[in-house]
């Protein structure tokens, strides 16, 4: 369960203060598939980053399974991400010095899981890349890199998957493939999926759509 209360994020832009998120409050129950949509600069990615503890809000609180995370230090936030959150970025952000297999393995190693290799093999298989595991990111296509990123996000069996425009850098065919893959994994693993996207068609597949505008929640509707 994710509980967001009165979340505000302002940043300095020269002498001015720029409000990116303005008093946002949202509750997301376990296992829900939520699409966050909105125009560029509406605060979607910032919201996702704050939920993942990648940045600190200016005010407001975020609770994950009852734990308030905005007051936590860097290392505690890292622990929460390691245990509960998977993240998929628009530009993949694989570690270029590691192979596809090792990229999937690394979250489990960080967490100190002993059975990492077998699970990494399974995840590679699940994203249909069994024969590409020994390749480095530079040797993979964009779609393949994003599939590795999704497998990596699921490595530690997170309860929450946050995806920031995961299909934004892919062509429509590959984009659809990635989306289907995430949707399937969401179903199979019963994770909470928060998807930030521009794509109305993808958002239409979500159980709930939250629209942001100028840092505020403009609409919040569940699919009938």
């Amino acid at each position: 369960m994710i509980n967001i209360r009165s979340l505000t994020k302002t940043v300095s832009s020269g002498d001015d203060q720029l409000t990116i998120l303005d008093n946002v409050s949202i509750d997301i129950p376990d296992g829900q598939f939520v699409a966050v949509i909105g125009a560029s600069g509406s605060g979607k990615s910032t919201l996702l980053g704050l939920i993942a503890g990648l940045d600190a809000p200016t005010s407001g609180t975020i609770e994950i399974d009852g734990d308030e995370i905005t007051s936590l230090g860097e290392d505690d936030l890292a622990r929460i991400r390691s245990e509960k959150i998977g993240f998929v970025f628009q530009s993949f952000h694989l570690i270029p010095s590691l192979t596809a297999f090792e990229n999937i393995l690394i979250p489990m190693e960080i967490r100190g899981q002993p059975d990492g290799r077998a699970r990494a093999e399974n995840l590679l298989h699940a994203v249909d890349l069994s024969n590409r595991g020994h390749h480095f990111p530079a040797e993979l296509s964009g779609g393949e890199q994003q599939r590795v990123a999704i497998a990596r996000a699921f490595a530690n069996r997170p309860t929450i998957l946050l995806a920031d425009e995961p299909t934004g850098n892919l062509d429509s065919k590959n984009g659809m493939h990635i989306f289907d893959l995430m949707k399937d994994l969401h179903h199979e693993n019963n994770v909470t999926l928060v998807l930030v996207t521009h794509d109305q068609m993808l958002a239409a597949n979500a159980q709930r759509q939250i629209t942001l505008k100028d840092g505020r929640v403009e609409s919040d509707s569940a699919r009938q």
Partner: protein
Amino acid sequence: MKFIINLTRREIRSSWRRLLFFFLCIALGVGSVVALRSLIQNITKVVGVDARALLTADIEVSSTNDFTPADIAKIEDVVTKSGIVEARNEAITTALMARPVDPSNQSIEFVELKGIEPPFPLVGAFELADGKPFDFALLQNNGVVVSRVLLEQLNVKIGDKIKIGEAEFQIRAIFDEEPGGSSGFRLGPRVFIEKKAFDDAGITRNSSRVRRRILYRTSDNPTELVKQLRESLKGTTITVASYREQQENLNEQFVRMENYLALTGLLILVLGGVGVWNVARAFIEQKRKTVAVLKCLGAGGGKIITVYLLQILTLGLVGSLFGVVLAQSALWFAEWRFGNDLPAKMTYGVGLSTVGQGIVLGVMISLLFSVLPLLQIRQIKPRLLLRDENNTSLDRLDRSKWLVGALILAALLALAVWQAGSFKVGAFFLGGLFVTSGVLYLAASLLTRLLRKVRSLSSFTFRQAINSLYRPGNQTRIILLAVGLGAFVVLTVQTMQGNLMHEFDFTKNAHLPSLLFVDIQKSQVGDVLATIQRRLGEEPQSIPTVRGRIAYINGKPFDFENREIRQQQGIIGREFALTYRSNLDDNETVIEGSWWSDASDPTPEVSVEDDIATSLHVEPGDSISFNVSGRTLTARVQNIRKIDIRNTRTAFAFVFRPGFLESAPQTFAASVLRRAPSTDRQRLQREIVDRFPNVQVFDVADIIETVQKLINNFVLAVSFVGSFVILSGILILMGSIALTKSQRIYESAILKTLGANRSTLASILIAEYLLLGILAGTIGAVFALGLSFAVSRYLMDIEWVFQPMVLVIGIAVTTLAVTIVGVAGSFDVLFRKPLATLRSQ
């Protein structure tokens, strides 16, 4: 832990190429430390390990005068009472001319003659060249055992006869290594004869440079005995030495030399550290995203720092091991290149403890110089994956960085003190390094700033080249500092060589004699001078000399129990050639007191040479008592005299006012200025020695040639080490090229898109490195000029000569090296297709 080890391994797998320069910087530094330390340790092992073997005894009692019966009685009394003396022998040494008896062989050479008696040696062994032990019977009935090199010099063989003084000797055997070693400056090769042959051959009769020694082997610590002998012989000109004191001095000298050389190695290693710092900084910049991803995946900052720290330490360790391999190669190179000038029995392996030291140093320097860049990992936030924050500087200084910086400095100081073996020297080294680096860095900043002012040049190529020097992350000033420092070391040594060579240049110093004749008896003066004039056409100058030693200063004898005085023993305790004259020579000036004022004053007066006066701590008005042929002559110091030693026909430490030395036994010295060819000089020497065997002839030209060779070898060795400093600068340059390559590729792609062709880009590239090289060379040259001036003028007191060619060549070579390395490292950029580059940005 598994995560840390696995990630470290994987990161090394992918990053080692990028960190190659890191690796090489450490390898070069460790290589220098290990090579220099091992070299001096190996030399020490051969020449200086055992002072007892060097002295060939435990105690040496020596004098340049005959021991009087009273002296011998005193010595024997103390020795007998001590009850620790096991064995005793006497030896007598001098330098003399030797020539073949065969009249068709006109060779003549100075030899260091040593008369010995059994048992010899008291300590150590004497093995002949054929491997057989030395047998005293070889010397009986006028036999000699000679150093192998003499056979070549005199063109003789075993069984031939040579003439020394008035006697003939047969060469019975040769040796390669003599007891006591062959280190130190010598006038010629060693020749052993029987001690009693010295007197029989009339060698000691007229020669005044004879040293007599009584040697003892003791069964116990000789320190107390030495003390008692000194006490008993106080006021005489006899000196007492023990192997323990000599060992102490020798050890100190070698340790000091080893530590100074190790500091030179440390300098190269610290420069390597600067390279490490550079590489680590750029590496962390490049790893921003990876660090952010790892943080996003749940890794804490501490874990990530540990991964990169481990990576750095691994590379530091492997670099250090490679450095050991480099050191061993350098030692083999030294054997190949300098083997003939180094002791014959020297080994060329790296020492195990030195290897350990090198590795510890290498790893520590890797760690110390990469800690600050690594700390930047803490400032990398995972949010940069959401927003482009690549332009945020990581170089912000906070309190923890200041603290770590202070710890790094303390650790560096500890390393320097460890290597120098002294806190003072270590601190001075580090302080000096900081000041020098600071000054060079300031100069580099000033020059680059000046260069910026001329950016409005009409030449597009140079304008672009200057712009390139300011490319972010280009490390221009650091490269200038490192390469400039290397050029500075090498050029300082080269200009000092030029100055020293100038000192010994015959053609420049018209008053420096080419031949010096000493020990001419009064009855021989006319004939000797006539012979010289007949052979060389020059009327030589003759000077009366009286030999004497200092007995007292202001009525007190030297206290050789005092270590400081004992260390000066060679200078103040030796026998001096005294002379007398009424006038100052052309090359002399009085700097304190006045020249002879009152010729009728009954008190003897003496003029003292400046440096000797400093060593003796005397000034006008003090008194010095000389022992001249057993009689004491006390003189008042009338003045202190400075001699222009560069241009001097004679250089007497003590000159008396006429009227006091004339009655003492005296000989004459004569000098020749004419630069005669070496064959003419040799023929003259041969005739003089044949006719007047007691006369000693010094071929000054020959001696100076030996000194010049020594200087050249020294300069070559220092330049060799200095070139390592340049090499570390070049490595930093190569590292910087590799790290800024992507930027250069991007710039080139844009310029190509805008219409620049390959030749334009190539000229920009060449111009950039030309400028960099010229700046680095100029910095090195200017500072070398300053330092060589200061050292020549104020430290060595020699004439400073401006040598523009050395500096121009220095700047040219530096420029060439920088340009070649720079262009070679970046040339492939010209051939990249711009589209692929621009797309990937």
